[in-house]
Symmetry: D3
Subunit: 319 residues, 6 copies
């Protein structure tokens, strides 16, 4: 790809493809409608105004559409803005697709799938193995591209799979240190714990909560799915119930969305592994662009704390 | 039935059937095992000691067994106690069954079923009607004899059905006053909201939590059941989701066990109706034996309050 | 009345009476003072700027004043605005009064008073009856026009009386289902519970908290009034104390403003009835203009929830 | 008075007057009723059993009765117990009165009244002065003998007056340092803040909550009394309202029983002065019998803390 | 000093020295950088825009710099603004220093030091006395000019010393009323409790938290300093530990920053005295410019309350 | 060692050494003093009564003393009890030491020290390395035998070192997965985080809180020690401050005893690693003796949960 939108300076003339993440209609002081477009590619985002739009324009320029734009980068109230000179929606002939314009996980989805498959392969309890494999297969496509959340952590394309893969490695190393842990349960719990997000969130591009996401939530939906899968596969035994419990309890407390607290050793550890990986993701991103000796912005999901980067971390460790 | 155990005085010699609610083994100071039996019939409970028990006795006299006893009512540390002179387990020939020895709802289960059926009949939305009817039929037997809880409120045989019937009448009268309420949804929500208790609790006699009850809880189980029933009946549409939401949210808050708060008008009202009927049951039982001008014992599930019966309620109103 | 302000389109020339709900002074960039007026009639509200005002204007155009306006409906930043061409305060000769310009309860105050009187008439305990009748009479005028709150629920002219009438009907139907409830107490509790608002709020037009409202609150003031009324009527007996307790405890918990939690059966139910009617009012108004399949705005006093209107409620039920 | 009960040793034969603080009936293992008596004088308390009581005895030996006893101090399970050899209720001829048998404030009630009167005399605002004087006079007798609480702090005869006197001195010294404080308001707030306890508690001997104490509480009752007193004295003006607010808000927060938090400078300081004096009383009593280098028992109303007495406080400071 | 900035009217031409409290860079719509300056002297603050700044200007006009300005007071959106005609940074020749431009305590630092020294002189325990004197001497300079906080209370030059002096007087008068209090401990606790702020805050001019202030906090730092001072002075004995505890626990609860709650009588009282003096400072400043019959703005650190000034406080008491 | 006390049956005559963990004096019904002894060896504990003790006995048989006993195992109220026939305190000649009678870590202290030393050796930042090595050396002896807590987790001899060693392995594996983590900081944080317990707890045998433990706590003491060590070693730089912050914040929140929440990436992870290892220890011990299909007792420090052991864990995994 050519230079991304974030790498252009004020004054540059650009001609490039960009994805509409959001389009909001307004009425100008002359009474005519206009659109405020939030445009993005992998490098970042920029705002643009499209003045004097027709009803056709309002339909053509909506979120998730990729557009081809000619324009100039300008400055408005200290913020960069894209002045549009020409704009058109793209068609199949442009050979562009939304995922090219979205931030995504640092690993390839296929590599992540392979890794997850390997973990499933290592399971020794056939019931847990079959249930997990079945559900991964069922949701494979969405599972590999859904973000892990709409904000806070892993909120990028394939964020869910990336979160799962990191947690699997954590689970393996922790289970190696505490032999009382049942690896099969732990791996299955990691793989399934957030899988309901493929139904809770509307998709990778403009991720929002679906109606069933709001009314039931990914935890409840996934508990149901495990039960249905067991019926379909004619699997019986306490493994089904225990897996449902792991998913149900992985938020740790009722105040945090789990109607049952973890009552199984592996459920408690699953909750903690989830917590470590999410926090590491949030902290790494917050500290990434901070100079040694400085503090980050406040991180809302970490009780609004602001983190400090020590001065003796002057050279990034192994970043 | 003859005079119940609660109506006998200290000094009375009795010969009667009683149900063992609980049997606990102890070791006497002479080193021999004995059993402390909690015995009950519909009138109340009494404690008895069975001294010098054999291993066979330990197996024979367990909870849920009905025994025939000869003995004498005595007093021990200010409490009535039954001194056992002769005891034997009953067999089919005694023609006694546990339900004859348990406190139960003031209405006949069949009458309650009829009333519930009538409410289902009045529904106008066929999807909601079919789903509700199907689930009532599926769990009919247990639904009619399960208590509504192990303690706190409606903790007697058929307590769940009685709670549901009271709530249906409440729902009808409230929906009559607020026409924006969807009666079908409200009735279905009332009938299904606690139906998962037939799996959460172990049965009417010595009600305890089942393992799946502890690991998943009645709310999560019932949400799954509604989904499965819809599949089985090939019912689609938002009605299914909304009914699941009503069950899921009926505890009102995540701290109280509902991972989603009510987001539908009828869900909010369902939560309130549940609350009113449970509180009325607790208050009526607590105040029943209290004299005007006195306070009740502390009621734990009502924030440990102690209620007052005004002196001008000297004659029970219409009790 | 003629067409209300909310029914006019951008571009319309209007000549009409409007009530000033709020007037705020600003300084224009030319250094001259101007007024931002919030104008209303029963159909809704609109904003207008009055430029270049004199000190006399500042005194004349204040909140609660009804003005006669000639102007044009315009659009500014996507919002309707009224461009004033001529404006004058009204006098007695205009024969307009503030209540004609305020949203009010759907029932006529006199009908509501009649209904309340009927409930008082049905009481059988003469002490409760006399106390209630006395206090209704004492505050009759204000009681019939005060809103039930400054925001959240029933915040319109006669909102308090409307809230009371709805609650009385609820009380009647619930007491019909639970015969242990003392109807007299419950009705009196409903009628008196918020009556202190006639002193807590400044009146029906631009409702604000009075100083004694802020320093004591309507609950404390009403408890005192019941005591004084009893002295005046020479009524003795526990009824007085119990009525005071009902008013005192009707917010349910100390955190919610009731220094004593409900300790009487009817006090607990009064709290619940109050809750149901307030919530129904909030939910109905929030959902009124929402399309099926959409969510409402966040409702602050309902823990900031956003409610969903199911798609199968496509046709309003019986609205 | 002769040697108090607490100064006798195990083995002593005693003949003395004691007050019955509590009498509880039990049934002995021989089936006969007996009474467990809690007996006290100013020096402390002791338990005694009265075996084989008649119905007449049950009526004669109740709480608040002073008895004449002959008996012997014995030891039972590590606790001192009084073995009764002869017991009789006292009559007028014994010339004993309950107050001789109760722990009481270290100052004489008349001296305390004089001190309070002096503070009232110093007030410069005649409305505040007249209201305060009137209410002190109205409740004078009970005010001088009521304890300040049933437990926790100042729970002895005249505890309320003693608490008030200490707080007045505190108020004076603090107001001396912060001249923005209105001394009149502060003194009046101190004198009236807990005066409602004369109605909330049942009296100095066996202090318990009255029914109106439980249903309304001393704060609400006192706010009403201030209003009634103002009517009676025909005092008008904001002083009445502000005094009511001081009493209403002196617990500081709604969770602690004040439906309004302090909104007046003097109300905030009144709350703090109350807190200091109550805590000092609790701490002094808890530390009194503790050796340097030791910790006290847990003090429930101080968040269950256990206080430490430093070793360098080996000799009591100026105790 | 000449007339302060707060005493000038719109339209006045001024020529004066002002301190830059904050300088923030912006980009004007013409693409050129400008500075928004927050300027202050002892009388108050005013905002000014410095247009078209050079890189040199950006370095010259930063916070803590004193500037000489010629300009005119204008009005912009209802706020006073200073239109700059000429501006230059000052040099040594101007003979101005930042402390001349900052609000400061009403007492002279030297007088405060003398008063504190007198309190130390009165101590009778030589260990406590030597430790306290040593630490006052060590931090004397900063201790006398640091504010007590960055906002909320005593946030002015020498605010810490002023807070300490007021608390010492409070401590003396309270210890006079409760003889069980150890005056030495209490005085030392008062003097040392917030001394860590000299390291937690960056200094008197533009007070901000230092890095060690954010990572450790003034309480932890001061506890360490007391330990180090004791080592240096070769003082042993429980006095050291108890003083550390007083400083550690003076916020009262772990939620408020004290990992240990007060476990010593004087620690509890120290916490309360701190509270009274901080609240009095907040309340006095909030009420200072409020007319009788009005409410203050919301006071955030007092649970967001708004205080009322009674009408009968029409004439300031002794202000 | 011979068969431990826990492996003897009722009826056995025993002659063995046991450690007195607790000795409590009582007064028998005959008025004579007796001691209730809690006796232990590595296999478990048993209670014994020592009747008719002399003042010399009271001094001789105190906690931490090893005694030689002849007696018989009996049963009392269903509990095993040791009937003492002969008892004497041991002397040097018995060649027994308390650590032989206490439960201890599964690893040898020297092996643990070696492992910790190895981790210190791997550090690359010399300041962190020297500080950590210095403090380990300073407290080496106590550090290797102190328990990690008085109850809840790792409450056995050398529990602290064992907890540290497990956490170091966890830290290594997690840092291996997240390269942004500074291993030196993390290892040092793990080694130092609870080292203050060597001063907070009274020693390995009958672990109790010391007075400075109660007044300051291990966190505050250790922060001071790091500062003092840095001075002694003449180490300067932010490493000292950051290590202090890691120790200070390792409880995660002020409510849990850390006045500062973690503000450094490694501080957050240290808190989580501590949590995982403590929970694993609690869960493993609670589940150790539970049969598959059963629940554990309630675990207080895990929010009073009771854990379930799945039936398919019929054969312990790799225990």
């Amino acid at each position: 790809m050519k230079r991304g939108i974030n790498h252009h300076q004020v004054g540059d003339n650009v001609e490039m493809y960009l994805l509409i993440k959001q389009a909001k209609k307004g009425i100008a002081s002359n009474g005519k409608p206009f659109l405020t477009l939030q445009l993005s590619d992998k490098s970042g985002e920029i705002e643009a105004k499209l003045w004097g739009v027709s009803p056709e324009d309002e339909v053509a320029f909506v979120s998730s559409v990729i557009v081809h734009i000619q324009g100039e980068i300008q400055e408005f109230r200290g913020m960069r803005q894209l002045k549009i000179k020409a704009i058109r929606p793209t068609s199949g002939m442009d050979q562009v697709k939304p995922s090219d314009f979205l931030q995504s996980a640092p690993l390839d989805p296929n590599d992540m799938l392979e890794k997850i498959t390997q973990y499933i392969f290592e399971m020794r309890n056939p019931k847990i193995q079959r249930l997990t494999r079945h559900l991964v297969k069922k949701h494979q496509e969405a599972f590999l591209e859904t973000p892990a959340a709409t904000k806070n952590h892993h909120e990028f394309v394939s964020g869910l799979a990336y979160h799962v893969v990191s947690m699997l490695d954590l689970a393996k190393s922790i289970a190696g240190l505490y032999p009382s842990l049942d690896k099969d349960l732990l791996y299955a719990g990691v793989i399934l714990h957030d899988m309901g997000k493929v139904r809770e969130l509307s998709g990778p591009i403009v991720s929002q909560y679906t109606i069933e996401g709001k009314l039931l939530g990914h935890i409840t939906m996934m508990v149901s799915e495990i039960g249905e899968a067991a019926k379909e596969l004619e699997i019986e035994g306490e493994e089904v119930l225990v897996l449902q419990h792991l998913v149900l309890s992985h938020h740790g407390k009722s105040e945090w969305g789990s109607p049952k607290a973890p009552l199984i050793r592996e459920a408690e550890i699953l909750h903690m592994i989830d917590n470590i990986d999410a926090k590491m993701n949030m902290m790494d991103r917050a500290l990434e662009h901070v100079a040694p000796g400085d503090f980050t912005e406040r991180i809302f999901p970490m009780e609004n704390r602001t983190l400090y980067k020590p001065t003796f971390h002057a050279k990034p460790l192994e970043f």
